[in-house]
């Protein structure tokens, strides 16, 4: 009987990260889509960094920051009594960073395409800005949200380098599916590696298929 715990852990991680990023990424993407500030270019570049940075580089810096002797790691230890390194919470935090562009960019594109017209109409009908966002801008950006959710989920699902750096390989805590596959290959358990790889391949394909089918239907 193959141990599927890494799969469930991975799905849990991806789900939590996706939900959190959709919430946290919305104001950032909204600001980037609307602002005329020059600071926006700096923020955009920082947001896109995880796209080009080797995951090990990001993981290395996060490992330093999460260390209990560093300010962030120490703060976390004082408040919660647990460490960020080699913990599920640390994985969630790290994933929030490296999956950020996969949430922010589709949302920013959707908000930019939306333009000011629907929001002006909402304001002229007496809707306050937050009201107008929730009842007009967000529903009209539904496609952007779906794209962001699918990409974020899929990307978090497959991450390896960052997880290896900050999470290590603790069963039930940080042993996600990509780490488990690596370990099975190292120990020459190719049968399990095949099974887990096949699962990840199939899952990723289904997710992308859903995404393209969704976009294709809208296009037609």
């Amino acid at each position: 009987m193959t141990d599927l715990a890494p799969l469930w852990l991975t799905l849990r991680l991806a789900a939590i990260v996706t939900v959190l990023l959709l919430i946290l990424g919305t104001p950032l993407a909204w600001w980037l889509a609307r602002t005329r500030s020059r600071l926006a270019h700096v923020i955009e570049a920082i947001t896109a960094l995880p796209l080009v940075l080797p995951p090990t580089v990001l993981g290395f810096y996060l490992l330093i920051a999460f260390n209990p002797t560093a300010p962030l790691g120490q703060f976390w230890l004082n408040v919660t009594g647990t460490t960020l390194t080699f913990s599920f919470t640390g994985l969630v935090l790290a994933s929030l960073l490296y999956s950020l562009p996969f949430t922010v960019q589709p949302l920013q594109t959707a908000f930019t395409q939306l333009g000011p017209a629907p929001l002006e109409a909402a304001a002229s009908l007496g809707a306050r800005p937050l009201d107008a966002f929730l009842t007009v801008a967000a529903p009209l950006s539904l496609r952007g949200y779906l794209t962001a959710a699918v990409l974020t989920f899929a990307h978090t699902l497959g991450e390896f380098g960052v997880v290896l750096m900050v999470g290590g390989n603790i069963p039930g805590e940080t042993r996600v599916i990509s780490i488990a596959i690596y370990e099975k290959v190292e120990t020459l358990d190719y049968a399990t590696a095949h099974l887990l790889s096949g699962l990840l391949l199939g899952l990723s394909f289904l997710i992308l298929l859903a995404l393209y089918a969704l976009n294709g239907r809208r296009r037609a």
């Binding site: 304001a123 009908l125 107008a132 529903p139 539904l142």
Partner: protein, 358 residues
């Protein structure tokens, strides 16, 4: 009657807006001028979508002064845009409810649906509506906010002729019955002639003229014509009586005008449009003409238009009337300001029947 006091400057890439004007708010005020004169920008300033430097007051209510700026959703001003801007994710009923709920006007929805004949459209999505239908929904939605002022930015410009004639009567009835002042941006002289009770003209971001439609319109026609636009004048007259041979007598300070058929009940006010090219001039009172309407008038100005024509402004008992004749006739008749003559009206149209030029 409230007025809108605007003292605002706004710098845009290609245009500087500088408005310092107190606009009395009643009836339908047309904001008229060529493309790029700042009409839409002025409307957006009033709506609160743009913020210039300066001050703005609506009656006693300060909308902008120093750091204070009332945001659009607190102005209780409805905007009808050139594109209907309906919410695509809601059906027609949902779009109407969106406005009504926020204004506490849910009780008014049914009456508005009836007024704009929207019943068959309620469950339709905006994407499936024709341009005219969508604009009707947009009008109803705007009115459901119980606005204190309605702003319309070329609401029929995007529509074809037939659809325009479908929408304009709704705007006319709104003007005549709803008692909500309307500011109506247009670059179409025909639309302005048909709808306006007051006209504000803009040129290069500044106010060029403001006054009752009857006073401003004949002067507007003296500006270079836009293709397909008919210069003309507007006369507000009252129905006097119907003669036994089927003519309706309409009275205005400059005299009487006869027009076929009963145009309204006795005493009703009607708007008449007289195209400038339908006005002939004669120094002596002409005899033996088939034309019924001959009014004594005084020339107030002669403005050359194009190569061979002239635009003549006439005063007819306090009402301005415009005529378009050739320069040769101007010379032959010796027309110049102060000269008395007779205006022969070849044709008179009711504003509500006047079609905007195609």
């Amino acid at each position: 009657m409230k007025d809108l006091a605007i003292n605002v400057a706004l710098q845009r890439d290609d245009l500087t807006i500088e408005i310092n004007e107190r606009v009395p708010l009643s009836g339908l005020t047309a904001i008229f001028g060529p493309s790029g004169a700042g009409k839409t920008t002025l409307l957006r300033l009033i709506a609160g979508f743009e913020r210039g430097a300066g001050e703005m007051r609506f009656g006693d209510e300060v909308w902008q002064q120093g750091r204070h700026f009332t945001p659009p959703h607190h102005r209780r001003v409805a905007t009808v845009f050139q594109q209907p801007r309906l919410f695509d994710h809601l059906d027609v009923a949902g779009n109407l409810a969106y406005a009504a709920r926020r204004a506490g006007q849910m009780d008014a929805v049914a009456a508005m649906v009836a007024r704009f004949a929207l019943d068959p459209l309620l469950s339709r999505r905006p994407a499936t509506l024709s341009g005219g239908e969508a604009q009707r929904v947009a009008l109803a939605r705007a009115l459901l906010t119980a606005p204190r002022l309605v702003l319309m930015d070329e609401p029929v410009t995007a529509l074809d002729q037939a659809r325009r004639n479908e929408i304009l009567p709704f705007i006319e009835s709104l003007r005549d019955e709803a008692n909500i002042p309307i500011l109506y941006v247009s670059h179409s002289l025909a639309e302005v002639t048909r709808l306006a009770t007051q006209i504000l003209t803009l040129a290069d971001g500044r106010v060029a003229g403001l006054g009752p439609a009857e006073a401003i319109l004949p002067g507007l026609a003296a500006t270079p014509d836009q293709p397909g636009e008919e210069p003309g004048s507007l006369i507000t007259a009252r129905v006097r009586r119907l003669s036994s041979d089927g003519l309706c007598e309409l009275h205005f300070p400059g005299g009487s005008i006869l027009t076929p058929g009963r145009v309204g009940p006795d005493g009703a006010e009607v708007r008449l449009i007289i195209r400038a090219r339908d006005v002939m001039l004669s120094r002596d009172r002409p005899e033996g003409l088939s034309a019924l309407n001959i009014l004594p008038a005084t020339v107030t100005s002669v403005t050359p238009v194009g190569a061979a024509s002239a635009h003549i402004s006439l005063d007819c008992g306090g009402t301005a009337i415009a005529a378009r004749i050739t320069m040769r006739s101007v010379a032959a008749l010796g027309l110049s300001p102060g000269v008395n003559c007779h205006a022969i009206l070849k044709s008179v149209a009711l504003a509500r029947d006047a079609l905007p030029s195609p």
